[in-house]
């Protein structure tokens, strides 16, 4: 029958620790890609890498919910142990466990609220809070492992093993149900059973989900007055949509990979950013500006290598049709191995930067 034991707690702790380690690494990676420190470089290959790391980040975070609850359940009577504090060291240990559970729950709940867009429930900025609390959680986790390592290494008595097994099987089944209910948002074959997925990879204008709509970006219509300005050290061009259509067109198959864990592949057709950059010279980073009027992801930076990657396009079409306004008409950036928030839409200009 189901029973608590230190062997069970250790095994749940191992699973949860591994899951939090994965969430931490993939999360810090995603944060650095979007807010790069000076030393950080992110390659444009493999093409699908960010799609996978961020899909894993969100799926693993969702899987942590039942694991964390099971872990706390397995030691629940200890929460009410008497006396509550048996000295300074014990007090510090209890404090570190409170920090660990609090920071871990903070990460899981804010992550869930973020993929549900329920920002009203978070009276602080999600990105900064989720990032900095991740360091608290991983730090408290390492400290907890340091304290508990001898307990976790103790042999498990036979009667405990049977009880442990049924709880672990139940935890695994619960993780499986939650994973199946969400994973179809990024793994298309599972789409039919993804009953709780916040996005479906084929639902949206032109069969592709949208994160920020044109009206949310303050872009109402784009008329014949549209010009794409391309600026570099040697020249400055203002191109009409017809000019862009005259340039050599390329078709690439690249995913939109959202930081919220959903992704969808599509066939994009348009002009190589490298071809546009050749017209104006320079070999530095490139700023991509947008017609977007509202704050937040209104422009992005392309690293020198990614800007000149043959797969990096200013896409005019998706699936053979001109872009829907919500997908960034008249043209959008689409580059390999790049978070969706940085695939700037309604592009108005490319500027080669001097440094």
């Amino acid at each position: 029958m189901v029973r608590r034991s230190s062997g069970l707690t250790a095994r749940l702790g191992l699973m949860l620790g591994a899951a939090f380690g994965i969430c931490f690494l993939t999360g810090v990676l995603s944060h650095y890609i979007q807010h790069p420190p000076g030393w950080f470089r992110w390659p444009s290959r493999p093409v699908q890498l960010y799609r996978i790391t961020q899909g894993v980040h969100v799926a693993t975070g969702l899987a942590c919910f039942p694991l964390l609850t099971a872990k706390v359940w397995s030691v629940y009577p200890k929460l009410f142990a008497r006396p509550p504090v048996r000295g300074v060291l014990h007090g510090l240990e209890r404090l570190s466990i409170a920090l660990l559970s609090g920071a871990a729950l903070f990460e899981l709940v804010t992550g869930l609220l973020n993929i549900a867009y329920w920002y009203g429930a978070m009276p602080f900025g999600f990105i900064g809070a989720h990032y900095w609390t991740a360091w608290l959680a991983i730090g408290a986790l390492l400290l907890h492992v340091a304290v508990k390592l001898p307990v976790a290494r103790q042999p498990v008595p036979a009667p405990d093993k049977a009880g442990r097994r049924s709880v672990l099987v139940l935890a695994a089944v619960t993780v499986g149900v939650i994973t199946l209910a969400f994973l179809g948002q990024t793994v298309r074959p599972l789409r039919r059973v993804a009953l709780l997925a916040p996005r479906l990879p084929d639902v949206g204008p032109q069969g592709l989900p949208v994160n920020k709509t044109a009206s949310a970006a303050g872009v109402t219509r784009v008329d014949d007055g549209y010009r794409l300005t391309v600026v570099g050290p040697d020249a400055r061009h203002a191109l009409t949509l017809a000019d862009l259509d005259q340039l050599p067109q390329y078709t690439v198959s690249l995913p939109i990979s959202c930081v919220e864990g959903w992704s969808a592949g599509a066939e994009w057709t348009g002009v190589r950013v490298a071809d546009l950059l050749k017209m104006v010279g320079g070999n530095g980073r490139v700023r991509v500006d947008s017609l977007q009027r509202t704050p937040g992801y209104g422009s992005s930076i392309l690293e020198p290598g990614q800007a000149r990657d043959p797969l990096t396009l200013l896409a005019l079409r998706v699936g053979g049709e001109p872009l829907h306004l919500d997908h960034g008409y008249p043209c959008r950036l689409i580059a390999p191995n790049r978070p969706g928030a940085l695939q700037t839409k309604w592009v108005s200009g490319l500027t080669v930067m001097s440094t």
Binding site: Y131, L142, V203
Partner: protein, 129 residues
């Protein structure tokens, strides 16, 4: 090994605490209240409710249905928790139908029905054996 883990842990906690206190836009008081609320909500509301419901099942369910019902209870609780923000739909955006395109309340009921159906079948199979 343990000393190294502890030192690395303390360093990471220090870095996180620095960010909480001094990073641009950080709201340490609101964040601390939120952290306290989710911690208390989990440890003193969600878990006691689950343990209480489990105790009721153990007390009143027929012996052969006990284990399947306890398992179904645990799965139902976890799935309902992660589904809740989508069922409530506070984040829905009127002009973006591709965000949250499903009927999450109905779908949650479908999942729960499947879980309890499976538990029922498990109890019946157990009886025949």
């Amino acid at each position: 090994m343990r000393l190294f883990l502890a030192a690395a842990g303390l360093a990471a906690i220090g870095y996180g605490a620095y960010g909480w206190l001094f990073a641009d836009g950080s709201k340490p008081v609101s964040q601390l209240l939120f952290l306290g609320a989710v911690l208390i909500g989990h440890d003193f509301v969600v878990l006691p409710l689950a343990i209480g419901a489990g105790a009721l099942i153990t007390r009143f369910a027929p012996a052969r249905a006990r284990r399947p019902a306890l398992a179904a209870l645990a799965i139902s609780g976890a799935v309902t928790l992660v589904a809740l923000p989508f069922v409530l739909g506070k984040g829905r955006i009127a002009d973006n139908p591709s965000a949250f395109p499903q009927h999450y309340g109905r779908n949650l009921i479908v999942i729960l029905a499947a879980v309890w159906l499976a538990a029922g079948v498990a109890a019946l199979v157990h009886k025949r054996r």
